[in-house]
């Protein structure tokens, strides 16, 4: 029975999964509306706020897109690892390490470079590279531990998330703290660092950021489907023994995967710092993009391209959450509840699919 259910789920096609996703989202929202009604609020107004709060004006649309870019990028970071069968739960930690590397490298290099646009572009490139290296190395660490010391990556990456928060928090409270700042944060980035919004006003969102996000997703998709390294990683994820048979160095592939995943998480953080934050703040108070990214990736069946709509959905829901919190008396927890329902309805089946595969249930008939 279990075998049959698992087998059925392993066989679902892309189209079926898309259908499942849409049905799940609808169901999640309907159940959410029931909860809203039961709590004594007006469901029609709530639904209205849900839409207005995510796409109702230029300002909220910019916020939705800004949040979406972060969800998409961190989601892609998770998807890379999950595709390769490595459970990187440490994207949040890699995001934080990448972010502080980006911020500090820009702050340190800024005095050495001219003030103009050219200097700004060089600084942003430098910051992005620093973030990718920082995030990549912080991802490589649990990769090495898994490959060469047999340490379960789920546990090590979660623990490294706490270590990242602790260490970076100490750094920006002490040596890296901005002089005279009232709250805990680094110095602000110089004025020539930042992405021009172009379409939207001063909203912490830039169309350039969105474009770069889409380019990065495309690059990851190409790497995963059309390069030898991607084939090695995905094959390891599907069937590690077959990958080894084909000449893939399993240990090195684990490290490569984690480095790649961590580097993308670092780049997500570079965008967060450069496009939106402008400095680096207490890491514990940064939204948990890296954890939500797990749900985003699962929602997308760990497909890098599928992460785009999944990230938009999460961006929209989070944006609506802020709106509803500000403009209505419905508690924000209800929004979190709906996000949770979406995860349960959509991502959980995907999680079971992966668990079924890991335990070898289903799909094994000759």
């Amino acid at each position: 029975m279990m075998d049959r259910v698992a087998g059925r789920m392993l066989e679902a096609t892309v189209l079926e999964r898309l259908g499942i996703a849409l049905a799940s989202i609808t169901t999640a929202i309907l159940v959410g509306l029931l909860a809203v009604t039961a709590s004594g609020y007006n469901p029609v107004l709530f639904l209205n706020n849900l839409i207005v709060g995510s796409i109702g004006s230029e300002r909220v649309l910019a916020r939705t897109l800004r949040l979406s870019t972060f969800f998409v990028l961190t989601g892609v970071a998770v998807a890379i690892a999950f595709r390769a069968g490595v459970f990187n739960i440490g994207v949040q930690g890699q995001f934080i390490v990448g972010g502080i590397c980006c911020t500090m490298s820009i702050l340190w290099a800024a005095p050495l470079l001219p003030n103009g646009t050219v200097g700004g572009i060089v600084l942003m490139l430098l910051g992005t590279v620093a973030a990718a290296i920082g995030g990549g190395l912080y991802g490589a660490l649990p990769g090495v531990l898994k490959a060469y010391a047999d340490a379960n990556e789920i546990i090590t990456t979660i623990m490294l998330n706490f270590i990242a928060i602790g260490v970076v928090s100490w750094l920006i409270t002490n040596p890296f703290r901005a002089e005279g700042a009232t709250n805990v944060r680094t110095e602000s980035l110089p004025d020539n660092v930042g992405l021009p919004p172009i379409v939207f006003g001063d909203s912490g969102f830039s169309v350039i950021g969105l474009a770069l996000t889409l380019v990065l997703v495309a690059v990851v998709a190409v790497v995963m489907t059309r390069t030898r390294s991607g084939y090695d990683m995905v094959t390891s994820g599907y069937q590690a023994s077959a990958a080894v048979y084909s000449g893939v160095d399993a240990k090195r592939t684990i490290v490569t995967t984690m480095t790649f995943s961590g580097a993308v998480a670092g780049i997500a953080s570079a965008l967060y710092v450069i496009m939106f934050q402008g400095n680096f703040i207490e890491p514990a108070s940064i939204h948990t993009y890296g954890y939500d990214a797990i749900a985003v990736s699962l929602l997308a069946a760990n497909n890098p391209v599928g992460v785009i709509p999944a990230g938009l959905l999460f961006g929209g829901l989070n944006s609506s959450g802020s709106y509803i919190q500000t403009y209505s008396d419905v508690p924000v927890q209800l929004i979190d509840g709906i996000v949770g329902l979406v995860i349960v309805f959509v991502a959980a089946p995907e999680l079971f699919r992966m668990a079924a595969k890991r335990t070898g249930l289903g799909g094994d008939d000759e």
């Binding site: 049959r4 030898r228 084939y231 090695d232 048979y245 000759e366």
Partner: protein, 525 residues
């Protein structure tokens, strides 16, 4: 076997099972008389396993009826089938490897002490020991040993005990001999006879004709999802059965070769290899394979063949000794570099190693070739080239159904294996290492694969074949090394020894003093 008014243990009437457009069983009738052994023969993909899965409640039939002991039954789940006294020993054992024998046997049927629901291990222990003693199983001595520490033969007996513990009167054994050594096969046959003597009814799924003829009372042959016929085992021959299975005549004989081998290309000196559990599995092995030669390695599974092959292919690093390829030392070379150098490898297990079951054939066509031009250039895969190559393999090796977009898991075992063979010899290797090249493969495909291997040998390829099937080793090899406890205890000329003699060597002669001590004349060379 039939006694006047005893209803048959199992009667299947007009069973039809479709998967999409594929008809796996087409109105199959099947009758298992009570207290008899009935062999179900057929090539892989002929629908044997599907039919039994219907009987065991794993699949719902689209049409047809199931009668157990004359009563009509509907099985929605295996649990229903078990409750009706049907037990199944799957080809891939359904055991939880880290758990002990006792835990595995009682899993899902735990006896409970009292109202608190504690598991009554003592009661279970006694019952299992009673079953084991009755059939002379040593399982009773291993009750607290984790499954992963047992060899395959013992695991299979655990499966049988598990079914008996659950009260099975009708046992379905799905290709039970596929993983066993000849000696273990004999043991299994005895067990099956004992079970029959006890009044139980058995269905024995196989594609091995001799085994079916030896053990079964009746034989039903399936081909392409339909029952071709049922014959009493005493009134048929291997030739007739083979013809029924394949639908045409099959040749079994060894053809004399017309070419002579060339220079040695793969050589091994003083090789020592440690296995997964830290034990030395290969001890001081020497071998030399020449171009245009098939070097067969016979032996009971678990005597170091796997580790030796892994050392040859680069999947395991030896402790000492040297592997040389074309005169060059390659002992430390990775699998990847060896593939590129021209050492192709047909792996032991096509489900876990040779194919990615979730991939279509195109993506499987790249497996192992992912650094080789023209498939991959500068790290980028040219999927068009890979697809063309895959279609060539499908065409040349008669892979059915001939569609490159099919998932590997949707193909039958024989077709999967033909695809792997095609892929591995596709880029003109100098050495081919074939581990159990026809395990679990139907007769038609075996013939095809064997002929290809012989053709390749005649073209100058050096081939190492590991197999536990004596008949295969004897048919293919120019020289046969028999491996026992990590050593080649002898290397023999296939034309000068009998199967029995090799069998004795495989049993390690020296240990088995009573039977073998006197019969070694003419075997040792």
């Amino acid at each position: 076997m039939t006694t006047g008014n005893t209803p048959p243990a199992v009667r299947l009437e007009g069973i039809t099972k479709r998967f999409g457009d594929v008809v796996a069983n087409d109105h199959v009738d099947f009758t298992l008389e009570a207290g008899s052994i009935h062999a179900l023969l057929g090539e892989n993909g002929s629908g044997k396993t599907t039919l039994m899965s219907v009987l065991y409640g794993l699949y719902d039939q689209d049409e047809g009826e199931i009668y157990i002991d004359g009563e009509p039954q509907t099985f929605d789940t295996p649990r229903d089938a078990m409750d009706a006294g049907v037990g199944m020993i799957h080809q891939h054992f359904q055991l939880v490897e880290p758990m002990t024998v006792l835990q595995n046997v009682i899993l899902g049927h735990e006896p409970v002490t009292n109202d608190f629901g504690f598991v009554d291990e003592e009661a279970a222990r006694e019952e299992i020991e009673a079953i084991s003693t009755r059939y002379g199983f040593e399982v009773g001595d291993h009750l607290d040993v984790p499954i992963r520490d047992l060899d395959l033969g013992t695991r299979q007996r655990v499966e049988i005990v598990k079914s008996l513990y659950r009260g099975a009167e009708i046992l379905v054994l799905d290709e039970p001999t596929a993983v066993l050594t000849p000696q273990e096969v004999d043991r299994l046959m005895e067990v099956m006879e004992d079970l029959r003597a006890d009044g139980r009814s058995l269905i024995f799924i196989s594609h091995k004709l001799d085994e079916a003829l030896t053990i079964a009372d009746d034989i039903t042959v399936l081909r392409g999802g339909t029952a071709v016929g049922t014959v009493p085992a005493s009134e048929t021959t291997e030739q007739e059965l083979a013809q029924m299975m394949v639908g045409r005549e099959v040749l079994f004989d060894r053809k004399p070769r017309e070419t002579t081998p060339g220079a040695p290309i793969l050589e091994v000196d003083g090789l020592r290899v440690t296995g997964d559990r830290g034990l030395e599995k290969v001890s001081e092995v020497e071998l030399s394979v020449r171009e245009g030669e098939i070097f067969g390695i016979a032996g009971v599974q678990g005597n170091g063949q796997t580790e030796l092959i892994e050392a040859l292919t680069g999947l395991r690093t030896p402790d000492s000794g040297a592997v040389r390829f074309g005169g060059e030392e390659i002992t430390e070379m990775t699998r990847r570099d060896r593939t590129e150098a021209g050492i192709a490898y047909i792996p032991e297990d096509r489900h876990t190693e040779g194919l990615v079951m979730e991939y279509d054939l195109v993506r499987n066509g790249l497996l192992g070739n992912q650094t080789i031009a023209p498939f991959v250039k500068n790290g980028f895969i040219d999927w068009e080239v890979v697809r063309d190559h895959t279609e060539e393999i499908i065409d040349e090796f008669d892979v059915q159904p001939p569609d490159a977009d099919n998932k590997a898991s949707s193909l039958s075992g024989g077709n999967q294996q033909k695809f792997i063979v095609g892929r591995e010899i596709g880029h003109d290797p100098a050495v081919l290492i074939a581990s159990h090249p026809t395990r679990g493969v139907d007769i038609g495909s075996i013939e095809f694969i064997h002929n290809r291997l012989i053709e390749l040998r005649d073209q100058g390829l050096a081939i190492v074949v590991v197999s536990s099937k004596l008949e295969e080793i004897q048919k293919l090899s120019d020289r046969i090394a028999v491996m026992y406890e990590g050593e080649f205890i002898d290397t023999v000329d296939p034309n000068a020894v009998t199967e029995e003699e090799i069998g004795l060597l495989m049993a390690g002669q020296r240990l088995d003093e009573t039977d073998a001590a006197e019969t070694d004349s003419g075997v040792q060379t």
